[in-house]
Symmetry: C2
Subunit: 318 residues, 2 copies
């Protein structure tokens, strides 16, 4: 069987069974970041790793600076999804022969600018000759108070499903320029904390399905609640679902107890000017992944997420 037939999730499932899970591992493969002991008293360490490749996650004409920024930002988004704080990053940079030193410098400038914004340090890494295009693998190590660590697996029936920011906007831009929702995640942790959280990298419907699978629950969301731009809403249901469901939005999808949700949907915009929108509810039946459209009719979640090895929608490359 070839890898594109199995897909990334099938592949990860097949591979993770091969790996023994050791001591001190709170959560290994299968969440936005690994959670391990070994940190300071009362805290867990978080380890997130993500890669981006030229021609797959970004086009060749994108500036090195934006490439460097994105490579780090996707990892910060993963740390945010755990409720944590990023501390250190290491960077593996693969470059084809003939690439200019200025291009590398620009990549590091992008890394440095974003790491400066969040007070984390790029502490090491390596460079190597890539047989294909440029590619960057970044690993971020962070920490989180044990009481504020949020996994995908804690969602409970009755929780309100909330999403930060707006889904959609210029697709050629957002996947390069997005702001990792670290500050928002910390505020959610203070007032909440959420029972489950994930960052939207595969698409709203796919990522909500990840939470439901990990938590053993279902979800019902309303088309009219989805935070998409007005012009998209006016184009009708298909446009709303396509826009809301696309990958690489890097907003946070959080499940919150009703009282926390009420407070936070008011406080988050007030404190950080970031909208937090309730879009639905967690339900007990794990087979129910339902969207109520604008006519009030239920339908199953559309399948519109990011395909890692397939030939389907590849938002990142637009």
């Amino acid at each position: 069987m070839r890898i594109e037939e199995l897909g990334e999730f099938g592949l990860i499932g097949a591979l993770s069974r091969l790996l023994p899970s050791g001591e001190g591992v709170v959560k290994g493969i299968g969440d936005d970041a690994a959670v391990v002991g070994g940190g300071k008293r009362g805290r867990y360490l978080l380890i997130a790793a993500d890669s981006i490749a030229e021609g797959v996650h970004f086009r060749s004409r994108v500036s090195g600076r934006r490439v460097g920024r994105k490579a780090l930002a996707v990892n910060l988004s993963d740390i945010a999804a755990m409720g944590g704080v990023p501390l250190w990053a290491v960077v593996s940079l693969g470059l084809p022969a003939g690439r200019s030193v200025e291009y590398c410098r620009e990549i590091y400038r992008g890394l440095a600018e974003l790491s400066g914004e969040y007070s984390l340090s790029v502490v090491g890494g390596d460079t190597f000759r890539s047989p294909g295009g440029a590619m960057i693998s970044v690993t971020v190590v962070g920490e989180v108070e044990k009481s504020r660590c949020v996994l995908r697996s804690g969602a409970r029936p009755g929780d309100v499903i909330c999403v930060t920011g707006t889904l959609g906007g210029p697709p050629r831009e957002k996947h390069l320029n997005f702001t990792p929702r670290l500050r928002e995640a910390r505020l959610l942790g203070e007032f909440g904390p959420p029972t489950a959280m994930i960052d939207i990298s595969d698409g709203l419907f796919a990522d909500l399905a990840h939470i439901c699978r990990a938590s053993g629950v279902g979800a019902v969301i309303g088309e009219d609640s989805l935070p998409v731009p007005g012009p998209v809403r006016r184009r009708g249901t298909a446009a709303v679902l396509r826009t809301a469901g696309r990958g690489e939005e890097f907003e946070l999808l959080a499940c919150l107890p009703p009282l926390s949700a009420e407070v936070l949907c008011r406080e988050l915009p007030a404190e950080l000017t970031t909208p937090l929108t309730p879009i639905g509810r967690i339900v007990a039946d794990p087979s129910r992944l339902e969207l109520i459209d604008r006519r009030g009719a239920p339908r199953p979640f559309p399948d519109t997420g990011y395909r890692h090895f397939g030939v389907g929608p590849t938002q990142g490359i637009e």
Copy 2:
């Protein structure tokens, strides 16, 4: 300027200046692993990241299992060079479309086998479509007692320069099959600890030069002391230097106070059956990087190391 003109070390130097060094960073870019605060009481965390790519560090016909093993082993060698213990690893695996699922499984089997030997856990990572060949970036997080953490920068005049194991042996095999010197490093830490240490990835002469530059010292080593196989020695000086100087040997190069060196050159073979050979001395003059050949004549270090972006010797691919 193109990257192959600047070379990896020039590139790293140019890039590291762009990165602000933050709080809690004991040693950032420029050693075998980064050393940071944030671990358990009395210990530092270590973070090592290294990548290998098909056609650059391994040939396409090499089995996935050996590729997975090597990708982890090079990082364990880096943790060893700091005197530390590896705890967790994350793996970014880039695969071209069309690669078989069995090949990926084999890679993970190689990772699992080696991680089992050293009781570390592979806790996460990602898979992505690579536009070129297969490539794997591994990051290992480990820890080390503060008193046993060994940097490159502590070598002092009078220290004895020692090397573990034998340099040389079948080049097509060693870079895939080597044993990371983790146990040896821990024993050195108990009796020593070394004043400076590095793993031999760029080549003995290049890596010793890294230690000397970081420590502000020089080194004098003897051709007759180099632990190369007998048949190589009989072929003469040129063969000895070529063999001893090649990259990807992954032995440890340690600087030790004379008394520690004497004890350890006896104890290491006794405890672990790994030879530890004194090959020379650290000297005060940083401009002196000297080899005394078998006729007793001094000569500068040969330039025979691994070139990351160049077209010179590329041991790893043989």
